[in-house]
């Protein structure tokens, strides 16, 4: 009886009078005042995609500058601005909005709720982070920065003190950076509170903690991480503002303040932030890999435990960003070991995904292709991470292109690839239409080729001693050819991403109809129509297992009999 209450793709629109076609003004108005988690999710995603293109252009400008030694395409000042804005944008205005977009859209649907716990807080959080993005980019018009030259922050995305202090960064560019991060932090904390309250208080009947799908579980974990890790960033932005506006001395080395304290505070935020960004990638892999292997996820309790474990361990590893800053040997040893400890839960997750695929009937659809590429690239990124966690090795390679290659391997190879997988997997649910498969395959292969050309090769200039954040280099260093390969790879990725964006727009109008459940999947979001109505479910669903739709489709062999 309980299982039958889930309407599979019908019985939603019955008896509902369709209102007259709204005018464009009404459509825009409805998107601006909306408190619907699905519309806000899509707004977050669009916001993230726009900034992805902007930050991508910034990356391309840097790569063009580095194509030839002694190139003059960008001035040194502009180059500084480009890497500062690229980093800040990608983390705060691309990564966070995209992860919140998918979270907003999927978490209530997957736990069988009609909306988030606090819909208006949700809208507030979105608009304040969107405003933070505009504020950061307004600095191009309104800012005066380092050396008195105009526009945009130029202190790198970690804005090490005392460079970010008033004495060394006069003008307003760092202020734009600070206020923007403060506001986007408030938005992130608001959404994190919302997601936690939603997961714990809005679950449909029967969904005990052990039956929550893995995606909501991981979103709860990363929301907890946001609460304890983004708040320190907010705190140190407050301190920087006290310094810059009220004449305080928190990071003023002339008055006894400590520049190292900023580095500690920033990385207390900065490292867990990496896990905040990578956990949604894991979450998507947890949903996609089983569906396309036609098997239930291997080791559900271990997966939950490993994710929560990653959450806790990641809070104690921040100083591995600071081995060259001069810590005690005890500090070095502690952070080396704690960093290596992270590889245990992540290893558990990797092996569980492999075990899920093992013996399954794998369907090589686009979401699965991206997930498989993710698995390979994630393992390699993890291995260079372990190399860098060894403090002695780190001293050699710190702030070199090896580090840049490592974290781009995580951010692009793992996170961006899983974001693409999520798009191919959930786009039909959000729009009701499938993404074009031919364009998607082209996107996938160009992306894989471009990614490996760029980021595999980028390790080598690092090993040869090329430091990061330099605007040019001499021809006799032997870095030229490597840099040129990297730039060509980046161009290929740019083409791939343009194809992807074209595919998003093209398929929205021309894509084939998806129907409620195009992938024959098992979680509750596929139990309603595509796109779902504003109220998600006509009747509140009731579940008895982790795969309610499997139970419904296979009443002779339900999961609930075994869990």
């Amino acid at each position: 009886m309980g299982g039958e209450s889930i309407p599979v793709g019908r019985g939603i629109e019955v008896g509902v009078e369709r209102p007259a076609r709204p005018t464009y003004l009404e459509v825009v108005h409805s998107w601006i005042v909306t408190v619907d988690h699905k519309k806000l999710g899509i707004l977050y995603i669009c916001n993230g995609l726009i900034f992805l293109l902007v930050a991508g252009v910034e990356a391309m400008m840097m790569r063009i500058q580095l194509f030839f030694p002694n190139n003059t395409f960008l001035s040194p000042f502009t180059y500084n601005r480009m890497f500062t804005m690229h980093g800040t944008t990608m983390v705060f205005l691309v990564g966070m909005p995209l992860l919140f977009g998918f979270g907003n859209y999927l978490v209530p649907l997957m736990i069988g709720a009609r909306d988030m716990a606090f819909p208006r807080l949700n809208a507030f959080s979105f608009w304040i982070s969107a405003f933070a993005g505009l504020l950061l980019y307004y600095s191009f018009i309104g800012g005066v920065g380092l050396s008195g030259t105009g526009s945009a922050p130029d202190v790198a995305w970690f804005a090490y003190a005392p460079l970010s202090e008033r004495a060394f960064s006069p003008g307003h560019t760092v202020d734009y950076w600070t206020v923007s991060l403060l506001l986007s932090g408030i938005g992130s904390i608001g959404t994190a509170i919302n997601i936690l309250a939603t997961v714990f208080c809005m679950r449909c009947k029967g969904m005990t903690l052990g039956k929550i799908p893995l995606l909501p579980w991981l979103y709860a974990t990363l929301s907890f991480l946001i609460l304890v890790a983004v708040s320190p960033l907010t705190a140190c932005q407050m301190m920087l503002m006290v310094d810059r506006y009220l004449g305080g001395h928190f990071f003023d080395t002339q008055a006894g303040g400590s520049a190292i304290l900023w580095a500690h505070f920033f990385w207390i935020f900065g490292h867990p932030e990496v896990y905040v960004l990578v956990l949604p990638a894991f979450a998507a892999a947890n949903e996609i890999i089983p569906v396309f292997s036609r098997k239930a996820i291997f080791g559900y309790p271990a997966m939950v435990a490993a994710s929560v474990g990653i959450g806790f361990i990641s809070l104690g590893v921040w100083a591995h960003h600071m081995f060259t800053i001069g810590m005690t040997s005890f500090g070095n040893a502690f952070f080396t070991l704690s960093t290596m400890l992270v590889s245990i839960p992540t290893g558990i997750k990797t092996f569980n995904w492999l075990a899920t695929m093992w013996g399954g009937k794998i369907r090589f659809e686009l979401p699965m292709l991206f997930s498989i590429a993710f698995l390979f690239q994630w393992v390699i990124a993890g291995l260079t991470g372990i190399m860098l966690s060894v403090s002695a090795w780190n001293w050699q390679l710190h702030n070199s292109y090896f580090v840049v290659a490592h974290f781009h391997y995580v951010l692009v190879g793992a996170i961006v690839f899983m974001i693409f997988a999520s798009f191919y997997y959930w786009y039909p649910k959000m729009t009701g239409r499938m993404l074009d498969d031919r364009l998607g395959k082209l996107h996938f292969w160009l992306m894989v080729i471009g990614f490996h050309m760029t980021f595999d090769v980028m390790h080598f200039p690092g090993l040869l001693g090329m430091p990061r954040q330099i605007y040019t280099y001499e021809p006799d260093r032997g870095w030229t050819l490597l840099n040129q390969i990297v730039t060509v790879g980046a161009l290929i990725q740019a083409v791939a991403i343009l194809i992807f964006v074209y595919n998003l727009v093209h398929s929205f109008f021309r894509g084939e109809e998806a129907g409620p459940d195009p992938w024959d999947a098992w979680t509750l979001e596929w139990a309603t129509s595509s796109p779902p109505p504003a109220y998600n479910f006509a009747i509140d669903p009731e579940v008895a297992s982790r795969r309610p739709l499997w139970d419904l489709k296979h009443p002779e062999d339900p999961d609930s009999a075994f869990e």
Partner: protein, 198 residues
């Protein structure tokens, strides 16, 4: 396996979930705690590193009376919570008003202390590291007191005008949880600034 029926709907277990207000407030408190932690760490780290005076030992006096006021307000807000749960609205308004008064007294104490420090001891936020860390830590706490007082004043106005009734008991408890947090933070700030730091 075909014979196993879907039995879960037959064994009716009551389906209870935590209230979203309490969960959200707990989360907010977690986030706020880490903000305070950073400021407390900065305060402790910079103790005794000033290049010029005044130092905490020279200028700080222990605000025992105002501390007692703030901490006892937690007791009165607990009485208010208890009253509204049992639909005693008059008692609720009384205990709630006492809580607000105690909070205001504490805020007055902080104001007097700052007045003394700024006017007599010439310690401002730009004087030295102690000034920077002291005013920002104590000020951060005081701003939380102000937010709590504003929310409680609104609640009192609505309670007197009949807009808040016993049906809102759980919302009152959520707000009270925030107030308990503000008090608990003062215990930490007090220990750090006036006990360890002096």
């Amino acid at each position: 396996m075909a014979t196993i029926p879907l039995e879960h709907s037959n064994r009716e277990v009551p389906w209870r979930l935590p209230t979203r207000g309490m969960v959200a407030m707990t989360c907010l408190i977690t986030a706020e705690s880490s903000i305070f932690t950073i400021f407390v760490v900065a305060y402790l780290y910079y103790l005794g590193r000033d290049v010029q005076g005044p130092t905490p030992r020279q200028v700080l006096e222990v605000p025992i009376f105002y501390t007692v006021c703030l901490l006892s307000s937690s007791f009165f807000i607990w009485l208010a919570e208890h009253a509204i749960e049992h639909s005693k609205m008059t008692a609720f308004c009384l205990w709630w008003s006492i809580t607000i008064l105690l909070g205001l007294t504490f805020l007055f104490g902080t104001g007097m202390e700052w007045y003394k420090l700024i006017v007599h001891d010439h310690l401002t936020i730009r004087t030295n590291l102690f000034g920077t860390t002291y005013y920002s830590l104590v000020g951060l706490h005081a701003s939380h007191v102000v937010v709590g007082l504003l929310l409680m004043c609104f609640t009192l106005i609505f309670a007197v005008s009949g807009g808040v009734g016993p049906q809102h008991a759980y919302r009152i408890k959520t707000l009270a949880l925030y107030w308990h947090f503000v008090d608990a933070v003062w215990v930490v700030v007090f220990t750090v600034v006036y006990v360890v730091g002096r």
